[in-house]
Symmetry: C2
């Protein structure tokens, strides 16, 4: 009789294997690009058999889309944690800008960029990743509006918040090839002052 | 006796062939990515024999670097033309922001992005394209400072101009997968107003 006692650990192992494969896929994408992130290379990096990897992700596209979904879920989780940690008071705006900039950086951003680059020449992949990217954009935008206490009914405020996300995306791209840390810090600080003036100053 | 009469047309033909190959390389990179932009594929697109292409560009790296140099030279030329056409008066800041945003868009930006993505996993390519990218960044920055009449000795002004370039880069990336035109227009207009307030307003 199957009481489920054997099934639980098996499901848990399967989940752990899947997570290991997704972590490896993100690392492979960031380091080698989409062309280098084959199911075989990802399986090897994860220390998982090729057969097990193919059981989870029959095609490379399955693997890519699951990796992007995994990155977006992690990002959502980070945003929620970051939002809870943003301080009240005068440093708040800068902390929020830093949080948005951080959302477009690191190995996840590098991996996502490789997927965007691959999608630029692959219409099927593009159609599938676009809605996921749009969802991510909406979530970061919503978090920024809430945390900044921005009133989007005031003219120009929506565009100013959107520009903050575009700036963060641009900083992420500038950071791809060279460590851009000190410059990023100065720009985050400056942008926070601009935002304070724009969002709390006189409307125009 | 070689009077040079035969050499001139030959050199001209060679220059024209080279330009056709570079145009084709930019198009191939933008549409197919670095993996798809082989010397053979570029030669075919340019309507040039493979042998002639290999004479001009013995390796794919030679072709990539020459294509990037070609894009940067074209960009410099566009900036000079754009600078001459920027109107005086109240629309000037918006025209300058639009010019900077345009510098990070179109097929050239898409091709360069594919090279950056490839360079992220290729340290040799990265070392060679970094100085070219830095030169491009300095040129756009210098043009923006001059055209905006920005006083970089005032605190924060340098960062505000740099942020304009990062914003433009981020808008270019957002435009990669989906046509982002109307949103870009709104953000350009908004950012121009912010810049006017920042650069002409009271220093902080």
């Amino acid at each position: 009789m199957d009481t489920g006692a054997g099934r639980e650990p098996r499901q848990e192992r399967s989940r752990a294997t899947r997570a290991r494969l997704l972590d490896a896929a993100v690392a492979c994408l960031a380091e080698r690009g989409a062309a280098g992130a084959t199911v075989g290379a990802v399986a090897e990096r994860a220390g998982v058999s090729r057969g097990a990897a193919q059981h989870h992700f029959p095609t490379r596209e399955d693997l890519f889309l699951a990796a992007l979904r995994y990155m977006l879920d992690n990002r959502g989780e980070e945003l929620r944690r970051g939002a809870a940690a943003v301080p009240e008071g005068p440093g708040r705006t800068e902390a929020v800008v830093q949080m948005v900039v951080d959302a477009f950086s690191g190995v996840d951003f590098q991996a996502a960029l490789q997927l965007w680059a691959a999608a630029a020449s692959d219409p099927v992949l593009r159609e599938r990743i676009l809605p996921m990217e749009e969802q991510m954009g909406r979530e970061v935008h919503r978090a920024a509006v809430d945390l900044l206490g921005a009133d989007e009914s005031a003219p120009g405020v929506r565009e100013t918040v959107q520009a903050t996300l575009d700036l963060a995306r641009g900083l992420g791209l500038a950071n791809l090839l060279a460590d851009d840390g000190p410059r990023r810090r100065r720009i985050v600080r400056r942008w926070a002052r601009v935002l304070d003036a724009e969002l709390r100053g006189a409307p125009d």
